[in-house]
């Protein structure tokens, strides 16, 4: 019997470049406060959000994803044909099938394997974990990962628990082989016991099964699924459990907080970010991703958008270490230390 050939592994992987695309509208707190009986002051104090980028009717989730992908490819010096896999993390692609990834691959001129993953606000860090594994196993050389959301398509603007936090955007990165370690071990996991803490209001089957004669659509009612959450539960989980996960990712990478150039947590709430910075005892020298102030919470796009914004503002971060962590609906989470491109 002949000896089977297996893919040659790559010793290390790294992120070659990040890219991003933002919604074309700046939506202020004043613009959205009315229907939820809120105010600019309340929202700024409780969340740190002043405006959020949202995408207009003319800018689709595919447009956002492809734009971020092209930006990341350009920053990485890679063309679409060089890609061996395309992974899109999203919860707002309006088709369960076919995937958004297939459209994005086509949009950047790639015929590579392409698939979507659903890990909400942890989606980008999940995708990086997969890309890292594919590259190191030798299954792929260059993997494009994208976190993208058009959350504004799935919000009820009269809903008070989450709608005011959310924005639209896309962030992307290319992961490829490396001579030196570029992506630390991912610390990730789930807590499905809290499946209901944050997510869509109902399923599409519930819409199908509704008897619209006995239950007619009420004035102002959104019949399609929209997002909502138990804010307190999610807040407590985030400040408490996620600081531990962040610390575990540092430990797994064999570094300490002092070694970091940047800390880029999911942009869920500025107050969560502040608390994590305190708990992790990050020194002042560590730059912290805080673009939630103008971007809002963009779920899967939030971490790469925040990394890309930091890199734009502080090019000196290139070559330094960043701890990125995503967490959200599932509940799910993922954290890893990466060398910034």
């Amino acid at each position: 019997m002949p000896t089977l050939k297996q893919a040659e592994p790559n010793r290390y992987s790294r992120i070659l470049g990040y890219g991003s695309a933002r919604g074309d509208l700046d939506v202020t707190n004043h613009d959205i406060a009315g229907p939820i009986d809120s105010s600019d002051e309340w929202i700024v104090q409780r969340t740190g959000i002043k405006t959020r980028h949202r995408a207009s009717e003319n800018l689709s989730i595919t447009d956002l994803a492809v734009a971020a992908a092209k930006d990341a490819l350009a920053n990485s010096g890679i063309i679409g044909e060089d890609l061996d896999a395309v992974i899109v993390a999203t919860v707002t692609h309006p088709h369960a099938t076919p995937s958004l990834a297939a459209l994005v691959a086509d949009g950047v001129g790639s015929k590579a394997p392409a698939y979507d993953i659903s890990a909400a606000c942890a989606g980008f860090c999940y995708a990086v974990a997969q890309a890292d594994a594919l590259v190191k196993a030798g299954t792929a050389q260059n993997v494009l990962v994208i976190g993208v959301e058009k959350l504004s398509d799935f919000i009820d603007n009269t809903e008070r628990t989450i709608s005011f936090l959310l924005g639209d955007g896309a962030g992307a990165a290319v992961v490829g082989p490396s001579e030196t370690p570029g992506i630390g071990p991912t610390v990730w996991g789930s807590d499905g016991a809290n499946w209901e803490a944050v997510g869509m209001s109902h399923s599409i089957l519930e819409i199908r099964n509704r008897d619209f004669v006995t239950h007619p659509v009420e004035e102002g009612e959104k019949i399609w699924p929209t997002l909502r959450q138990d804010g307190q539960k999610v807040f407590r989980w985030a400040v408490w459990e996620m600081a531990k996960v962040a610390q575990q990712a540092l430990d797994a990478a064999g570094i300490t907080a002092e070694d970091l150039g940047a800390f880029v947590p999911h942009q869920a709430n500025m107050r969560i970010i502040d608390q994590m910075v305190k708990t992790l005892k990050l020194p002042d020298t560590v730059l912290v991703g805080r673009n939630i102030e103008c971007a809002g919470n963009t779920s899967a796009a939030s971490v790469p958008l925040a990394v890309d914004a930091l890199l734009d503002e502080h090019p000196e971060l290139s070559g330094k270490l960043a701890l990125q962590i995503g967490f959200g609906a599932g509940l799910v989470f993922a954290a890893q230390v990466v060398v910034l491109p």
């Binding site: 104090q45 409780r46 138990d230 307190q232 539960k233 807040f235 407590r236 400040v239 408490w240 709430n269 107050r271 608390q275």
Partner: protein
């Protein structure tokens, strides 16, 4: 379990750390929101830190009932 004074002192430290309110101002009859001007987000952070410090569990539903510093001290003492 620690006595009331120890719990009060520990809680006052947590409140001070989170909000900057002076330790002496954290007294049993003070209301978190009215007197100490603590918002719901700071309250959650205080609760999480108190759980850690005193080794107790303070469920989400219970937090609403903790109107005064005394309510919190009693809850922790009896938890």
């Amino acid at each position: 379990m620690a006595d009331q004074n120890e719990i009060l002192a520990g809680l006052a430290e947590i409140v001070n750390e989170e909000t900057g309110v002076e330790v002496e101002d954290v007294q049993l009859e003070k209301s978190f929101t009215e007197d100490l001007d603590i918002d719901s987000i700071s309250m959650m952070t205080i609760v999480v830190n108190a759980e850690e410090k005193f080794g107790v569990t303070i469920p989400d539903e219970e937090v609403k009932n903790l109107k005064t510093v005394g309510d919190a001290v009693n809850f922790i003492a009896n938890a």
